[in-house]
């Protein structure tokens, strides 16, 4: 069947279990550097909860937020969503670009039985793992603020992994066409940062003008934040399945895109 498809110009991606070898490589590097890597996912949510949650939050009356929450309670689920987004996207943005172009790690790996598709898959699995790790740190910080009550929050790291797959795929897709490491700035400034601020983390989306609300719906982070609100507040509903489906679709589309575009870039 493979040959028949190839005649039609369709090439099945050559992905195998060896993607795990790439994941292991990244894990080994991470374990050597983990102390320095731990500082961001601990410091950032801590500072944000202090500055916005407590500082700014004191200026906001509870009646303005859904469910009469305190502001710090309102932003906690969002923070659990967006910092791991940064972790996963950053790993498959700057991290992957650096491995690919500066360290030539991809070139070293594809000289072995590991295929380029395995490398891509391993990188995405690892990017998602970075999201997972980050979410565990942030869970600890938010728990220390006494903001977590529902047992459903135990699903947060799982969800961070799933969302991480999506953010990592999108980010690696951009990396696969980036010419230089500084051109990644466009991606982070114009795609990731707006999701961070406008994805419904810091204010209810209903406060945006209507057109922007529609736009926000298409933004992946919005759906992740929605699911996290369900998990942290302890009630999930069918709407969350729709959010999950949206995440799965975006992840699948960009995974396919990056498989093709990386092969084009590296296998010449």
């Amino acid at each position: 069947m493979t040959i028949a498809l190839r005649r039609l110009g369709i090439r099945l991606p050559n992905v195998s279990y060896r993607a795990y070898r790439v994941w292991q490589r990244n894990r080994d590097v991470y374990l050597r550097l983990w102390k320095a890597e731990a500082i961001w996912p601990l410091a950032e949510p801590l500072i944000t909860l202090l500055a916005l949650g407590l500082g700014l939050g004191n200026l906001i009356t509870e009646a303005e937020l859904p469910g009469d929450q305190r502001y710090i309670e309102f932003i906690a689920p969002g923070i659990l969503a967006v910092f791991p987004m940064w972790a996963a996207a950053g790993e498959c943005g700057w991290g992957s670009f650096f491995r690919m172009e500066n360290q030539r790690t991809y070139h070293a790996i594809i000289a072995t039985p590991v295929s380029i598709e395995d490398v891509i898959t391993g990188e995405i699995l690892w990017g998602a793992t970075r999201g997972f790790i980050s979410s565990v740190y942030i869970l600890a910080v938010t728990a220390a603020f006494g903001l977590l009550h529902s047992p459903l929050v135990l699903l947060v790291p799982v969800m961070a992994y799933v969302a991480g797959l999506m953010f990592a795929s999108v980010s690696l897709s951009y990396t696969s066409v980036a010419r230089s490491i500084s051109s990644l700035n466009y991606f982070f400034a114009l795609f990731i940062t707006p999701q961070f601020w406008l994805g419904g983390v810091f204010f209810p989306l209903e406060r945006l003008p209507e057109e922007l609300q529609v736009a926000a719906w298409f933004v992946p982070a919005t759906h992740v934040v929605e699911i996290y609100r369900g998990l942290v507040e302890g009630h999930l509903n069918l709407g969350h399945l729709g959010d999950l489906a949206w995440i799965a679709v975006v992840a699948a589309v960009f995974y396919y895109v990056v498989l093709i575009s990386m092969r084009r870039r590296l296998i010449q």
């Binding site: 490589r25 080994d28 070139h107 070293a108 072995t112 039985p113």
Partner: protein
């Protein structure tokens, strides 16, 4: 089959540019086979096709009786690749670099450990095994890169400019290791534009130019056939140069090649050495040397820079 690599009418094109233009060659088991040529000759591209990291545009290429188009993973599992660029993992230690690489070949941990120990010992890296990569000299990095390429005990070791940028001591150390590996029966492919290296290591070689193979043979045969025995290297310009060239008409046994401001005069046969002896070489400097591969290379690929 004694040929471990067979290429027939091999072509590689990039967007209209033909890097490899229909070449034929075969590599025998356990020999060291060299690809020589100026930059852009197509040698690295050829080797990348053999290593299954660059798709073949046209023609046939089989490695250990496997088609590169169909069995990339299996071929890559019997190759050891030593790239021109340094692509060691800078965040890992010397030992971890090897251990991580062994995993790409699905080596069980115990076997990998054993091979890593052997490699470290063979390349005299045991004392450095816990050092980070950035602390290594260029020579040590090269040794580590070669050690890494040998972890899977490859049938074919692919070396792309293995000693470029090394000092003479480090270069000789690498050559000694490569000779040792050849004695162990490892087939080697060597890409180089370093003639002394090719003469030193290769059993047979091809000289490539503009995507084609110009000649193929053992280094000594090629020297004998294309450069002869002795070479006079004469630096001359203006009238001196004309005077030297004027004497050539009466000396059919000599051949002249002009490279920049130097005339290379080749004595191809025993009696032509006599013609060389009574040449009047009144010029800025004259040096004689035994003909070598570099002479063959310059004669065949022409003078001046190709880029």
């Amino acid at each position: 089959m004694t040929n471990i690599i067979r290429a027939h009418n091999l072509v590689k094109r990039f967007d209209g540019f033909t890097a490899v233009d229909g070449i034929d060659f075969s590599v025998r088991r356990a020999e060291c086979f060299g690809f020589l040529g100026p930059n852009g000759a197509g040698k690295t591209t050829t080797v990348r096709m053999i290593s299954c990291v660059s798709p073949v545009t046209e023609g046939e290429l089989a490695v250990d009786d496997m088609d590169v188009r169909r069995e990339a993973r299996r071929i890559k599992s019997i190759l050891g690749v030593v790239p021109q660029e340094d692509n060691l993992d800078p965040d890992l230690s010397v030992r971890q670099n090897l251990a991580v690489y062994a995993r790409y070949f699905d080596m069980p941990r115990e076997l990998a450990n054993q091979r890593v120990d052997e490699s470290l010992a063979l390349f005299q890296l045991v004392e450095k095994q816990h050092e980070p990569i950035w602390a290594l000299s260029t020579g040590l990095k090269r040794r580590l890169t070669i050690a890494r390429g040998l972890l899977n005990q490859p049938k074919i070791l692919v070396l792309d400019e293995p000693t470029t940028g090394l000092d003479p001591q480090a270069r000789h150390m690498v050559w000694q290791k490569l000779r040792y590996l050849k004695e162990q029966g490892v087939t080697m492919l060597l890409c180089t534009h370093y003639m002394e290296e090719a003469a030193h290591l290769c059993d047979r070689l091809v000289i490539m130019h503009q995507g084609r193979i110009l000649v193929e043979g053992a280094p000594a045969e090629l020297v004998e056939e294309h450069a002869g025995r002795e070479v006079a290297e004469v630096r001359a310009s203006g009238r001196q140069r004309e005077r030297v060239l004027a004497q050539m008409a009466s000396r059919p046994g000599l051949t002249v090649e002009e490279v920049e401001d130097i005339l290379y005069i080749y004595a191809r046969t025993a009696d032509s050495r006599a013609q060389m002896a009574d040449l009047i070489l009144d010029s800025e400097s004259v040096a004689y040397h035994q003909a070598n591969l570099e002479d063959v290379f310059l004669r065949l690929t022409g003078r001046g820079l190709s880029e």
